[in-house]
């Protein structure tokens, strides 16, 4: 009897090609597209020219065509209400609180993998698969299955999986872990998949034009303090200028502050309570010690104080060396061996040992 796998199909080239690898490996593959965008947002996104929306009607049809072409059934599930309350609302709230959220990491945790795991349970499927560029494997050192970086380092999406519940790790299949994006596209083209040359999707699926400020303004109304102009100050409280509403700023940002100064100034803090953007010199912007909370740890024994880990402080971060010291039940103090700019509250810290993904936590 073949093992059953549910694979999430976005309508893109990666997940469609992943179906082929699972077919080849002898699984019984069932395709599933989660419709996450609320109708209103989908309509707004689809109206814009050149926007690619992940779970639009068009993308669902493309997923269907690929599934039929590859000989697997394909089901569509609507979870837009959960996506709105769990992801979009969180995204807006974080910005209003002066933080910089990562919706994809939490979508994987709360929506994408969660729903597919629930369906897998109800449908007797042993595994859930996606087209992420990440790999899984058995780590001798940690005596368990862990996520690890993929063959295509330039596409590494393991960061996006760092907040997945521990019990999911043994149940996920990531067939693209051993392939590069060009290889995937080539195989998709050889298979005659219509999505072989489809452009890559946007970073934030519900804001395809990338203009998150307008999105937040339209979603929450301009009455919010975070939209209102306020002061730009330095660490001593000296007023240096005016800001256009804190949602427009991110910790570590240098450009677009509208300040004149001999040395470059960076956003070092966003104070939502005072409606202030605090700026400082590079030396002030670089920090080594910060707190992370809600540590999600895959690797057994919790991080030891003297161990050194490679950490990523945002998705495209190259990685730095850090130590982690436990300061609360799931809270840790992270110390970067070399201070860095852009340690941004709300973003996710992913913890690695070499290629192995050990866990993740939210930067406080």
């Amino acid at each position: 009897m073949k093992e059953k796998v549910i694979i999430g199909l976005s309508g893109g080239v990666d997940s469609a090609t992943a179906v082929h690898f699972l077919n080849e490996a002898g699984y019984e593959v069932v395709g599933m597209t989660l419709k996450m965008l609320p109708d209103k947002i989908e309509a707004a996104c689809s109206a814009g020219e050149g926007f690619r929306v992940c779970c639009s009607r068009e993308a669902v049809m493309e997923a269907r065509i690929c599934a039929m072409k590859l000989g697997i059934p394909h089901y569509v599930v609507n979870c837009s209400a959960d996506f709105q309350s769990g992801i979009i609302d969180y995204f807006i709230r974080e910005y209003l609180d002066g933080r910089t959220p990562n919706p994809c990491v939490f979508c994987n945790q709360k929506i994408k993998f969660k729903f597919m795991m629930e369906y897998a349970e109800m449908m007797g499927a042993k595994y859930v698969a996606t087209g992420h560029y990440a790999d899984t494997g058995y780590s001798e050192k940690y005596s368990r299955t862990l996520v690890r970086k993929p063959a295509d380092a330039s596409r590494d999406q393991s960061y996006m999986l760092c907040m997945l519940p521990l019990e999911y790790i043994e149940k996920i299949l990531l067939p693209l872990g051993r392939y590069t994006k060009p290889e995937t596209r080539k195989i998709a083209a050889d298979l005659g998949l219509i999505v072989a040359n489809k452009p890559d999707s946007q970073e934030i699926c519900f804001i395809p034009d990338g203009d998150y400020q307008t999105f937040i303004r339209n979603s929450s109304g301009s009455a919010e303090t975070a939209m209102k102009p306020g002061k730009i100050v330095d660490a001593r409280g000296t007023v240096l200028g005016k800001h256009a509403g804190i949602i427009n700023y991110t910790v570590g940002q240098r450009k677009g502050l509208g300040l004149t100064s001999k040395e470059p100034l960076y956003v070092v803090k966003i104070d939502a309570m005072k409606n202030e953007v605090v700026v400082g010199l590079e030396s002030e912007a670089k920090i080594s010690r910060f707190t992370v909370c809600g540590m999600n740890w895959f690797a057994g024994a919790p991080p030891a104080e003297d161990d050194e880990y490679t950490v990523k402080i945002r998705y495209k971060h190259r990685g730095s060396v850090a130590r982690l010291k436990k300061i609360g039940e799931n809270d840790f103090e992270a110390t970067l061996l070399v201070p860095e700019k852009g340690v941004t509250p709300g973003q996710i810290l992913a913890v690695y040992d070499g290629d192995w993904l050990l866990g993740g936590a939210v930067i406080k």
Binding site: N23, V30, M68, K69, L70, G71, P73, Y75, V76, V77, N78, S80, A81, F115, E118, Y119, E121, M122, M123, G124
Partner: protein, 402 residues
Amino acid sequence: MENTRTDSLIYLDNNATTPVLEEAAAALNGALRSTYGNPSSYHRAGMAAGYVIEKARASVARLIGAAAPEIIFTSSGTEANNTAIYGTIGRIMSSGGKSGPANIVTTGVEHHSVSNAVKAVCSGGGISVKRAAISSECKLEPEEFERLIDENTVLVSVMLANNETGAIFPVSEIGGICARRGVLFHVDAVCATGKIRYSVKDINCDLLSISAHKLYGPKGAACLYKKRGVEITPLFRGGHQEANLRAGTENVPAIAGFGAACDYFFNNIESSAAHYLKLKELFSAGIKKALPGATLNCSSGEALPNTVSLTLDFCDIHEVNAFMFNIDLAGVCVSLGAACSSMAKEPSEVLTAMGMSDIRAHSTVRVSFGVQNTEDEVLRAIRIMEEAYGKITRARKLRVQA
């Protein structure tokens, strides 16, 4: 690798559409190959195609007790319903036959091709809609129409049988009321035709819609019965086809198949209905034993012999989905609500109009039997549904424990 085969499936969704009868396929294929002419052409190729259409028209008319000239071929049941609604309202409005406010009387459980057309007609202002209530036992009281129809009523539209529940509505009584009150009466008979015998004379209707693919004919052919003397305006502007009421070259092959399907049911409707009923009773008895939490809807009143509406005791929409996916993976095809709204976020309006809660409406499965189904298929389907249901409840227990 591509897989569009359906021969291993247990297809129990015959209210959504039906497989094509051998007789209908043969007629369709014959027309597709031989009578390729344009029926509007004067020459013999055209004549041959025209003859195919007129034969089919006679067959359709015979099945419903109409005269051939009263049949207008359309492309779909949706087009027939839209022609009935827009055509009558357009006629009344353009002829100035009505001044002042007007209204349409219908029910809350019509197919979207009626309810949305009525909604659109009324959105312009000047026309309002009144809907007769349906009881939770799927009953529609004719007296309700006596009350709702007033001097401003221009059209009454009621379906002969509901596609989601199978409930048969008292259209003859309503037709009598409409005739007495001098109001046009349209009947959507798309779901009922081929399952029960009726005559447009007995119903006393002015307009009635039928679609070929619901009675084992091909997709792409349907018709609107229009009683002699009733005037309507066409939906499309173009050629003179179908007595100037449906412009566009006729779909000759599909219409040929439609006629053949009507011939089949003219001769076999009672035996087909007996076959459906045997399967329905076998299924209803078996499923009640297999899934004790299931409720059979509309099982008391008059209903189509082939339709079972079954509400399962699921906790949320995802359990319902997973159940549907499980039985589909095992080869059983049924519907959630109506086929046209499957996997929709909103629950069936038809079921909620009958007073069902959202989650109960979401959890309602329609099983509809067809001429091709066998007792063995029904028994296998029950077993598959039982297994699928078991998977959902086991997963629920695990979730609750966690």
